[in-house]
Amino acid sequence: MSTGTERRQRTPSPTRSPARGNDATPAAAARPMNAAMMFSVVALTITVVGLLYLVQTAQVASLGYEATRLEQERAAAALENQQLTYEVASLEALPRIERLAVDTLDMQAVRARIFVVVPLPPRDDLSLPEPVTRPEQSLALRVWERLTGQSTATNMGGEP
């Protein structure tokens, strides 16, 4: 009567193993190497990608806080600008300006304007300019100017 154990002990064939072992030895040695390398590469890739993602996320978060800070600075500057605008407007108040002018600068309010009537002198010396007629151009010259698109000008006013 044989036991299960015995059956399992018999199962491996002592004659086949060396033969297979002889054939597979180099491949078997290479396969774990390849798998380990593959695993390492994948792990490294995942690590690098993860790190890049983390760096990117950290930078985005950092830039976000920077943007928030700048926005707060902008808002504070806007508020300060509003306050300064109000102060400028207050300083422009007419009663204050008048008080400064009168009390500090010894100025006086204008009470009257003096209008001086200045009659325009008659311009008898003016005379109409003599009409100047443009010298007649020859037909050939006019045709040439049309064709070439160029033209000549004559100083009619007598000024250089």
Partner: protein, 579 residues
């Protein structure tokens, strides 16, 4: 078998039931997790998604900037400033009395008042003060009182205080406009708030590059008034002087550009500071007397009646009228006489205006005819809003024939400005039409609205032609004569041609009749006569030293015109007419 040791089971020879047991447990575990995962991620994913978004995101209202208000010279009259409100978290205040003593000088409330507020039994927190300036806010922060909290809130400020306050109005704490330009143009100035919906971190900061939506606020438009701060300052000063000199109850001065209808100045007393509107107990102070208070115009109204008579061709400047025996009898009513019972005898229409004769005005009204008279008054805008772009305009009281409250004597008393009530702006606008060739202009106070999408410039608008150019020319001459030879003599400015009509109206008593010795002294007119540019109304309420428009208001008008001629460089007539 007895002597042999039992065969050892190989290490990997695990009983199958154990494997299955582990597998079943594992499967159960995985199933439970899967069930939960599917439940969370699939079945209720939308619900949880909404929760998560609601947890991370927050909606903030971005307030629109309220537009600023400038005068015609570019002077800023209303602007926005940062401010704070201070509150107290009552459970955190240890010594309420000490806290009240420290805050009292800074926030303008009494120690007892603050202490009482800090001991409110029913409240968790109380608002102690609003619109604190940055300086005061900094002082409160420096006190370092635990439980005292400052929150920023924008507020509206009026740099010149009471200056033109009735024209400007004010804004409430929630920046809603009330009265004046602020009230009328609240939608234009206020803009539309925006909305920022975005993910935020634990500190409430917006997470950059996260999903967010941003509806930008639409800022309010800036407004440029026709009001000239130099004119406004001058008339406010003059008005304050005369009200003080006459111990008057108040008064109004309006300066309108005769040709366009633009308001150059509008001052009234009593006034208020819009920065501290909350301190005013009587809200009627906020009403602009120039548009919201009605009064009997008295004899100033005769100028309008005379213009109607001339325009209808029923009288001419030299038409003679004899007021003998010096009274006009109306059945069932006391006889109507001229002021102080004076009998002038025969007089021209020009003299009727010069002497401000009541009986002469009745004569003109009778010539016009009752129905025609009231039709023309309505054409002049009496009894209706002028449509000026200010909040709170009244229509006045014009009782039409056979209308409610009508009686026959009204027709006669209305002809000299009694029994009718107008706003100062209605009258000044009607008198502008007498001077500008007969065009009733739409009065306006906003010259430009400068919005994000462009600038809208108000164009002068003619409502209707109420009298002819010829009638206007006659009225200019007649009103000038009223200044040169009549009751408006004290309104004259040397070298300039001014036309004006005075008025002294009694003040109706709430109990019926009129208040004894109480008058409204007024004058309305324009200058320069050769080309009227300024229409001025001066109205002094209940002067105590003198009482008539002739004595009280005419000299004030002269001062106003002097200032206007100086400010705008108007040359005297002699200089203009020189060859």
């Amino acid at each position: 078998m007895s002597g042999a040791p039992p065969a050892r089971r190989p290490r990997n020879d695990v009983p199958r039931y154990r494997v299955w047991s582990v597998m079943v447990v594992f499967l159960l575990f995985v199933s439970a997790i899967s069930y939960r995962v599917v439940g969370v991620q699939v079945v209720r994913s939308e619900e949880f998604g909404r929760w998560a978004v609601a947890e991370r995101t927050r909606e903030n209202v971005a307030a629109a900037r309220r537009g600023e208000v400038y005068d015609a010279r570019g002077v800023r009259l209303a602007t926005n400033v940062p401010s704070n409100r201070v509150s107290a978290i009552l459970s955190q205040i240890d010594d309420t009395r000490r806290t009240a003593e420290l805050l009292s000088p800074l926030i303008g409330r009494t120690v007892e008042d603050i202490d009482s507020a800090l001991n409110e039994p029913e409240l968790e927190w109380v608002l102690l003060a609003r619109r604190l300036t940055p300086e005061v806010s900094a002082q409160i922060v420096a006190l370092g009182i635990e439980g005292i909290v400052l929150d920023p809130e924008p507020s509206r400020m009026y740099p010149f205080g009471t200056f033109a306050s009735h024209v400007l109005g004010f804004t409430t704490y929630d920046l809603r406009g009330a009265y004046g330009v602020e009230g009328h143009y609240d939608d234009v100035l206020g803009g539309s708030p925006g909305k920022l919906l975005g993910e935020r971190d634990g500190a409430g900061n917006l997470i950059a590059l996260s999903q967010s939506s941003w509806d930008s606020p639409i800022d309010g438009a800036d407004i440029v008034l026709t009001l000239d701060s130099a004119v406004q300052y001058a008339i406010e000063r003059i008005l304050a002087d005369v009200v003080a000199e006459q111990s008057a109850a108040g008064g109004t001065i309006i300066v309108q550009h005769t040709q366009s209808g633009a308001i150059l100045g509008m001052a009234s007393l009593q006034t208020f500071d819009p920065n501290t509107f909350n301190l005013i107990d009587d809200p009627t102070i906020f009403l602009n007397p120039a548009i919201s208070m009605v009064y009997e115009p008295g004899s100033t109204f005769k100028s309008v009646v005379m213009a109607i008579g001339l325009d209808d061709g029923v009288v001419y400047p030299d038409t003679l009228f004899n007021d003998d025996p010096g009274y006009f009898a109306v059945s069932g009513h006391p006889a109507i006489t001229n002021s102080q019972g004076i009998v002038y005898g025969a007089q021209t229409m020009t003299q009727v205006l010069e002497q401000s004769a009541n009986l002469g005005a009745i004569f003109v009204a009778q010539k016009i005819g009752r129905d025609r008279f009231y039709q023309r008054l309505v054409e002049f805008g009496f009894g209706y809003e002028t449509g000026v772009d200010l909040q709170g305009e009244e229509v006045g009281i014009l009782t039409l024939p056979m209308g409610a409250g009508w009686n026959d004597v009204l027709f006669y008393t209305n002809s000299f400005g009694q029994g009718i009530a107008v706003t100062p702006l209605q009258l000044v606008n009607a008198v502008s039409a007498l001077g500008n060739g007969g065009r009733l202009m739409q009065p306006y106070i906003v010259a430009e609205v400068r919005g994000a999408d462009g600038t809208i410039i108000t164009q002068p608008t003619v409502i209707r032609q109420v009298i002819s150019e010829e009638t206007s020319a006659m009225m200019r001459m007649m009103l000038e004569s009223a200044v040169l030879h009549g009751t408006g003599e004290l309104a004259a400015v040397e070298g300039y041609r001014i036309g004006a009509k005075t008025g002294t109206a009694q003040i109706p008593s709430p109990n019926g009749g009129y208040i004894e010795d109480a008058t409204i002294a007024s004058i309305v007119g324009f200058a320069p006569i050769e080309n009227p540019l300024f229409t001025v109304l001066v109205k002094i309420d209940w002067p105590k030293e003198l009482f008539s428009g002739q004595e009280v208001s005419a000299p004030v008008m002269a001062r106003v015109f002097e200032e206007l001629f100086l400010l705008y460089g108007i040359a005297p007539f002699a200089a203009q007419g020189a060859p």
